[in-house]
């Protein structure tokens, strides 16, 4: 009896230890494309919005979706300048930050979905940005850059540029001014 109980106990504990209590689900179809490759996920502060990048004929493109419905939210300023990478969202998803390609340069952009405005971060010519992280309240932006072959993280103050997007703020429906919801 003990010989039977011991392996069962070990299996149960192993299951708990590897996260058996976690509830999981797939983020679902990427805008109607079931088997599309989806990368670099970023959730808004309370998980109502999911940003990721997906392969499209126009190149790697930022996709913003409501959760859990999967409804695609159109963005005003991220229709072009592919490939897009490293999306990041504020608490209520008012701000969407990502890297885009403009000419020969990778450029960090922040779209304000409430006002429809676009903010571009100008970096020194010898800084190539690789990753972004927007703080949830939109007060700071961290940019991973490569400079002289070395990877560095640089912090930027957005206070005075962006209004804070605090927890409990109003969620924005649709893609903001000029964009069909």
């Amino acid at each position: 009896m003990a010989a039977l109980l011991l392996p069962a106990s070990i299996m149960l504990l192993a299951g708990c230890g590897s996260g058996a209590w976690f509830t999981r689900r797939s983020a679902g179809p990427a805008g109607g494309l079931a088997e599309v490759s989806r990368q670099e996920p970023a959730l808004s502060g309370q998980g109502r919005l999911l940003a990721s990048v997906v392969e499209r004929s126009s190149g790697t493109t930022l996709l913003l979706q409501e959760q859990p419905s999967g409804r695609v939210v159109n963005l005003r300023h991220f229709q072009r300048h592919q490939p897009h990478s490293s999306p990041s969202l504020s608490w209520n998803g008012r701000y969407v930050a990502a890297l885009v390609q403009q000419g020969s340069q990778r450029v960090p952009l922040i779209e304000d979905r409430l006002s429809g405005s676009l903010h571009r971060l100008t970096l020194p010519a010898d800084h190539t940005p690789l990753r972004l992280s927007l703080s949830p309240e939109a007060g700071r932006l961290a940019v991973q850059v490569v400079q002289n072959g070395q990877s560095r993280v640089r912090l930027f103050d957005l206070a005075g540029l962006l209004e804070p997007d605090r927890p409990g703020g109003i969620a924005i429906q649709g893609g903001g001014p000029g964009v069909p919801p």
């Binding site: 999981r24 983020a27 989806r38 670099e40 996920p41 560095r152 993280v153």
Partner: protein
Amino acid sequence: MRVPLHAMATVTLLALTQLLGSCMGPMPRPIGPLNSRLEALGANREPSLSGRWLALISGRGGREQVMLLDLVNQQAQFLSGLNRADAQPLSVSIDAAGEKIALVRQLEGRTELVLYRRSLQSLQPIAMVPDGVPKAVQLQADGRQLAVQVSRNGIWQVDLVQIP
């Protein structure tokens, strides 16, 4: 006195740049003291900002480890039990409370996702179900859910994992 053409062009360009700058309104400003602090850490990557916290992967002496910086007092926080000499961190993310850190790392030939709770100094593996190889993770700011990029059968997928 004749002014050389290229000098005039330079002055005009600078004036236009200033004019454009003023039209574009306030610009993001580098945070000097914090950037100096980061510079002193050496090479670093995979930043994750949330609340007063910055988590990142920092290299020291050829070895990389997860580092947590309190942006208010600019102090690095001790992460007991998170970093291992034989593990290679790949992706890191922190919640706004600074309590939970999600980490993708390579350890003993496997790539795994783990959740670290600072108050408990506990490390909990999160299995990929169905089986898959995690690559990148992001915790939502309230710490209740994470999104993880997983490779399954050659396709990148995104799983959402609720955290109790």
